[in-house]
C-alpha cells in the first residue's frame, strides 16, 4: 500500500456510528486530512457499510449496502474511514462477499485496495509525522480487533499520538476483545458484559485519564462500562485528540 502515489483527493466514509452517535469524529477526521494536505470529499449518499448485516448472517442485506458503497466511493483515488472495523469490512470482506459475482467482486477488490483506516492512511500513505493536536499526558490505547487483525493497524496511532506529545499506555491483555462485537453485545449481553468489565478495569489500571481507540463501537461499549463503574476516564476517538478538538466532551459525558 505504501508504493501508491500519494492521493490528492480522497473520499471520507465517516461511518454510520459517527453520523448518528459522534459527528465530532467526522469533523476531526476532516481536519486531520486537510492538515495533511489532501482535498476531502464527503459523499452525501453514504450511510452504512453493511457489516451489521454481514456478521449477523444477512448476506443479501450486506450485499445491498455494499453495492451502494462501491458505487458511491469507487470513483475516488482513496477512501479513508475512521474505523478499523468498517475499513476491514470494505478491505477484507467486500471481495469475499461477492465471491459468487465476478463483476461485483472485481469492483469490490478495486475499492478494497484503496480503502484505508484513518491512522493507517495518515502514516503509511501520506507519511504524516506532525498533527494539529497537542495532548501532553498519558493516554490508554485500545486496539480494536479489526484494526489489529484485519487492518494491521497498531503502530500508526501510537506514532501519531507520540507526535501529539502523548504517552501511550497499553492496557493489560490488550489483545482481548472488548466484548462489543456488533450485535453480539445485545444478543449475548452477559458474556459481553463480562468482557467489557475486564477491559474497563484494565483501562482504569493504566492510571491514564483518557482512553482512546480508533473504533466507535468499542469506544461506546467501554465508555458505557466506565460510566457504569463511576470512572472519570474520558473516552475519545483517537482522531479527536490528534486533531486537537477538545471542545466536545468525552463519549457519554454531559455537554456543558
Amino acid at each position: 500500500m505504501t508504493d501508491l502515489p500519494a492521493p490528492r483527493r480522497v473520499a471520507l466514509f465517516a461511518t454510520c456510528l459517527v453520523e448518528t452517535m459522534r459527528p465530532s469524529v467526522g469533523f476531526a477526521t476532516l481536519k486531520l486530512l486537510k492538515a495533511a494536505g489532501v482535498e476531502v470529499v464527503v459523499p452525501p449518499g453514504q450511510t452504512c457499510c453493511g457489516q451489521p448485516q454481514y456478521n449477523s448472517g444477512d448476506k443479501a442485506g450486506a450485499k445491498r449496502l455494499a453495492r451502494r458503497v462501491i458505487a458511491e466511493f469507487e470513483r475516488f483515488e482513496a477512501v479513508v474511514i475512521p474505523s478499523g472495523s468498517c475499513a476491514g469490512m470494505v478491505r477484507v470482506h467486500y471481495p469475499e462477499l461477492f465471491e459468487d459475482e465476478p463483476d461485483w467482486a472485481a469492483r469490490a477488490r478495486a475499492l478494497a485496495e484503496k480503502t484505508f483506516e484513518l491512522t493507517q492512511f495518515l502514516v503509511d500513505v501520506l507519511k504524516v509525522s506532525a498533527v494539529p493536536g497537542r495532548h501532553p499526558g498519558a493516554v490508554a490505547y485500545h486496539d480494536s480487533c479489526s484494526s489489529r487483525r484485519e487492518m494491521h493497524v497498531h503502530a500508526q496511532p501510537r506514532a501519531l499520538l507520540a507526535a501529539a506529545g502523548a504517552e501511550v499506555r497499553d492496557v493489560e491483555h490488550a489483545e482481548d476483545c472488548c466484548g462489543f462485537g456488533g450485535t453480539f453485545c445485545v444478543k449475548m449481553a452477559d458474556v459481553s458484559g463480562a468482557m467489557v468489565d475486564a477491559k474497563a478495569q484494565a483501562a482504569i489500571a493504566t492510571g491514564a485519564d483518557t482512553l482512546l481507540a480508533g473504533d466507535l463501537g468499542c469506544l461506546l461499549n467501554i465508555a458505557g462500562r466506565l460510566k457504569r463503574l463511576g470512572s472519570p476516564i474520558a473516552v475519545r476517538h483517537v482522531a479527536e485528540v490528534l486533531a486537537g478538538e477538545p471542545a466536545a466532551p468525552g463519549i457519554g459525558e454531559v455537554r456543558e
Binding site: 459527528p23 464527503v42 450511510t47 453493511g50 442485506g61 467489557v196
Partner: protein, 471 residues
Amino acid sequence: MTLLKSLEFAANARAAIADPKLQAALVNIRTMFQSGRARQVAATPEFEDLREAGAALKRETLANLDAYVARFVAEAEARGAQVHICADARSARETIAAICRAQGAKLVTKGKSMVTEEIGLNPYLVEQGFTPVETDLGEYIIQLRNEPPSHIIAPAVHVKKEQVAETFRAAHGNRPADRDLSTHDALLAEARAELRARFLAADVGITGANMLVAETGQMVLVTNEGNGDLTQTLPKCHVVVASIEKLVPNLDDAATVLRLLGRSATGQHASSYTTLSVGTRRPGETDGPEVAHVVLVDNGRTAMLGTPFEEMLRCIRCGACINHCPVFVNVGGHAYGAVYVGPMGSVLTPSLGDLDPARYLPHACTMCGRCAEVCPMKIPLPDLLRRLRFETHERKLTSRVSRAGLAAWTFLAERPRLMRAAARLGGWAMRLSGKGALRRWPLAGEWTRARDLPAPEGGGFVARANANRGD
C-alpha cells in the same frame, strides 16, 4: 448430571459467569495455556513457516483422503491390525462393543479421546455390560463426577482442586476417611494408585490417536501422563478410535504436526510422551497387544469435503482457539452444551450434526479473530462461523426480532436522508431522557444491563460537512 443444551447457550453463559468456582478455575486457561503458547511461539522463530507447512500438508491430505485412507488400511493390516471404517456414530459404537464382546471383556481402560465422546461410547459400553474406566487424570475426575469434558485437551479445567478432593472421597470409599487430600501431589498419588490396578486388570484398552500415518500404518499418540501407553500395551487387545481426518501422509509430516501441536496446545515444545505404534506384538517383542483394531470414524466428515467446511478438517485438536477465545475464557466449556467447544466446536458441532439445535453457537462469538490468529492449521474459523450465520439467517433460525431489525436497518441505510432524519429524532429523544449517558433506555435493555448508553452527540456529520463546504 444435568447436561446443558446448546439451545440455551445464553442462559448457560449467564449461569457460568455467576459461578465463582468456575470463574476461579477458568483463570488457569489464561495463566497456563495462553502464556505457555506465547512463550513457545516466541522461542520458535520458524513458527509461521511451520503453520504454513502444517496447513499445506493437511490440505494435500484432504484432497486425496481416499488414497491415504486406503494406504493406511493396507499398511496397518499388513502389521496385524484389523481396520474398520464406520460411517456413523452408531456403527462405530457397535463395532467397538463387538470387539470387546469377542474378547470376553469386562474392564475396558480408555485413553483420552474426543471422538469416543462424539460417538457416545462410554454410555453405550456401560449399557452393553462393560466397565469403561478413563485413565487420563482429567477424564478420570469428570467420569467420577459424571460430567462431560469441558475442554478438548483439559477436560476437567472447570474443576478446582478442592472439588477433586470431594470427588475422590466419595468415589474411593475403601480409603481412610481422614487422609490428607489438600495438595495436588496427594490427589495425584491417589489417582495413580487407583488407576494402576485398572491398567493391570483391563481386558481391552481403547485410545484415540493424534495422527494416523498412511505410509507406515502407525498411530501417533501424545499424552503427558503415559496413560495412553499403559492403556495400549497392557491389555490383550488394543482398539484405536480415530476420525478420518487424523491421516497424515508420512512420518515427516507427522513430525511437522507434532511441532505445532505441543506448542499450540499446552505451551510445550513436545508432550511428555509421544508414542508411535502399529498392529500386534511381533515375535520376540516384550510388549504390545495380541489383538489390534483401528476404528476409523467418518460420522459426517466426508460430507464436509469439497465444501468451505473442508478447512475445518485440518483441525489437530490442540485447543488453541478455545484457549484464546474471549467467550470461552468467560463461560467455560459446558455452556456450549456440545462435545466440541469454543470456536472449533461452534464450527464442528453444526457441521457434523444439525444446525438447528446448535443455531446459537455460531453467534456466540464477537468475530474478534484471535482464534484464526493462533490456529496452527490456519483454519479461518471466523469465516466459517460467519458462513454458518448465513445459514441460520437463510433458514430463519435467528430470532424474528433480529431479522426485522436487520431489515429495517437495511431499508434505512438505503435511504440516506431518511436515515439521518431518524437518527436526529432518536438522538433528540435520547438526549431529552438523560444527560450524557443513559442508565436505561427502552430499546437498549440488554445493552444497559452491564453499561450505560452514551447519548448521541447530535447534529449529524455528512449533511453539515457538505453544507460547510459552501458548494
